[in-house]
Subunit: 205 residues, 2 copies
Amino acid sequence: MGIAERKEREKEDMRKLILNAARKLFLEQGYEKTSIRGIADAIEYSPATIYLYYKDKNELLFALHEDAFLKMMQELGQVRSIHDPFARLLEMGHQYIKYAIENPELYDLMFIMKAPMETLACREEIWEDGLKAFGFLKEVITDCVNAGYFKNKNIEISALTIWSYMHGLVSIYLKNRMTMFQDDQQLQGMQQSFILFTSMIRDSL
Amino acid sequence: MGIAERKEREKEDMRKLILNAARKLFLEQGYEKTSIRGIADAIEYSPATIYLYYKDKNELLFALHEDAFLKMMQELGQVRSIHDPFARLLEMGHQYIKYAIENPELYDLMFIMKAPMETLACREEIWEDGLKAFGFLKEVITDCVNAGYFKNKNIEISALTIWSYMHGLVSIYLKNRMTMFQDDQQLQGMQQSFILFTSMIRDSL
DNA sequence: CAAATATACTAAACACTGTTTAGTAAGCAA
DNA sequence: TTGCTTACTAAACAGTGTTTAGTATATTTG
């Protein structure tokens, strides 16, 4: 009998309905100002219904966190068409900055907020999405090493170092701490710093 | 008449009483779980009283943010005794990491949370504390340039680049995103990355 | 087909949150 | 002693995430 299957589909539809409304509100007004009641209103269901499909607000944020990674990987993945590994790494950096600036709330969810990590912790799962993205960075760095760009053979540490810089740069900008530059010169400052950093790793990583 | 002065003193005492209770609770249970009511209970006053001394919760957080910077500058300032500027920069890095790990909630307040910046924005003031700390970093870098360690003459960009790396590294750790290492090897990983980064800037900044 | 059961949903409550308002009691000045 | 100011608070306002108990509807069973 197909009833069970239909119910399963309907359940999945409902999860998507909730998630889409959540994403919309979340991106429109930010995490802090989006309430379960607001999401419930948007889909014209009671707040309690949401708890039949998602354990709590953290789980809802975690689901958004997951497709934020999907989106980022799609955008970063485009660099695969670049043959030279160092040029590919550079473009990856540009795309990373672009993604962070264009999706500040998602970036927060992916790399700054504790909520999604707590869901992961109490499920006793690993941070798959993050590790996959980190793995992609390691691949590109490995290619750079193999092409003779970098001499350092510890890919893990090289990747962590590069990611730390990138994450720090965009975090400082997104969290409004780049006040050593005037508002309209912050992007330019980031650009200059990025050029400096990339020339540094090219010369001596 | 000394009555006005006494009242002024009492007002200042009350502000400190509130702030000390706020700091204690905040460090004990974190920002999110500390409520105005909790602070009011701790000092045995009504919640409304707190609003006679601080405009809102953001202002309370901003006050803590200020003495978090005071504390950090005290700890970082110790490196002034190191003569060699590059060794001084290295030690500053160590101290920065140490401070972040030992005071994760304060670090959040200083460099990640938006609340203190919002208070600053609506007061139309600049981020004095942050710029002062950044200025100290620039001083040390200038010394490194003058001593012939670094060839790059754009101190502002060099400082931003170094700070970005440091901030990224500690943020990734503090926000539990360093899952490429097992829990007990994350500090070691940071150490290795720090060594790599410092060797990179020594060779080619 | 009717009765029993399972499912989907919600109203209302619980226990909180930051913040404001209106009112009280004490301290001080005239 | 009267009038005014200051310090404080009880209670309310408008929200929050989450849970409970109960109601219809849909499905399965006798």
